[in-house]
Symmetry: C2
Subunit: 204 residues, 2 copies
């Protein structure tokens, strides 16, 4: 799978290229890597490498066709087919993620949060639903949920993870400081806030 | 600076070594990389590499002296000298970070949050102070704050960053989706939640 080889740093720049190309689309048919690099304050080699990872190379002297590149980037970033996500744990972190607007840049939508402290359905500040845990299984199946986010304490994380797996979830994003056991083929990404901050601290 | 060369992945494992070594300290004087690897379910080469990055190599046949290794790891992880941190922006994310208990593993403490919506001092759920922005400058200077965390919308992020810099902050951890301008020598680490989730989604 070619897509897996795209680095996280490249992934981070793709929405930047896309926004710029869209803003310039009406005026320009083609654009060179040199021009893109200059406009975005990036290195030319980096731009060529980033775009080569998702698209072909630009044509000599002509560069990239703007509309084609837009459509390749949109497809790669999954903007045309939303991936559905749910969160378990509607504490401060869970609710912050639920209402975060940046996921749509990558074709992702957090559809709902679930929490064992919630009995009657609630709405988040941005109007997203927060449900009781009783509704999790049906919701996952009916909405073809691909990714489950764990925002509960470490002591409940494995239990939540098992329930995600049972409901056909295909990847887990875990904010609890723990190590999860999952069946083969289900990727888990751990988010360790303490480690990020510690890493920054070492750079001072 | 040797410390900067330690990878994030290695940094993530150091607290695991430290906890294990502490649990075994009373019974063992020396421990081999082989034994450590086996106990922690890691590869032996990885253990040797991780420990070589912060300490010397183990001695042939003897391995590492447990007490020495504990003290090297504690020093490296900054457990003996707390780094002081403040957050600006006491929304859901800011408060989640303020009350997160995992930072102490890396000798970090988020001492207070500041928010322009706050007038009278408040307490977070865990009893940490949340102050008005008026108090930020004095607080930073009096408490020798090293790291400033930005948890405000992108539109206010640069303003907050400038104020951090003016108050002698030495590194910035930014959760706003933006690009900050800082003087040379002040590292900025951006946390992009959307990118993390998108990256996971590509692995499915």
């Amino acid at each position: 799978m070619k897509q897996i080889e795209v680095s996280r740093a490249t992934m981070g720049r793709l929405p930047v290229y896309l926004e710029y190309l869209k803003s310039t689309e009406s005026g320009t048919e083609n654009i060179s890597a040199t021009a893109l690099a200059k406009e975005l304050g990036l290195g030319e080699v980096q731009v060529r490498k980033d775009l080569a990872a998702v698209s072909g190379a630009g044509r000599p002297k002509t560069g990239y066709n703007v509309s084609e590149l837009i459509s390749v980037l949109e497809k790669f970033l999954g903007r045309n087919d939303s991936s559905n996500v749910v969160i378990v744990g509607a504490g401060k972190l869970g609710r912050a993620l639920l209402d975060y607007s940046g996921f749509k840049d990558y074709g992702l939508e957090i559809m709902a949060a679930f929490d064992k402290e919630v009995n009657e359905p609630e709405k988040s500040k941005q109007g997203k639903p927060v449900y009781s845990m009783d509704l999790l299984d049906d919701f996952c199946r009916e909405n073809n949920i691909r990714i489950g986010v764990i925002a509960v304490p470490a002591s409940s994380a494995q239990e939540v993870c098992d329930r995600f797996v049972k409901n056909g979830i295909r990847a887990v994003w875990c904010f609890a400081p723990c190590s999860l056991t999952v069946p083969d083929g289900i990727p888990v990404q751990y988010e360790n806030m303490a480690l990020s901050l510690a890493y920054l601290n070492k750079k001072i």
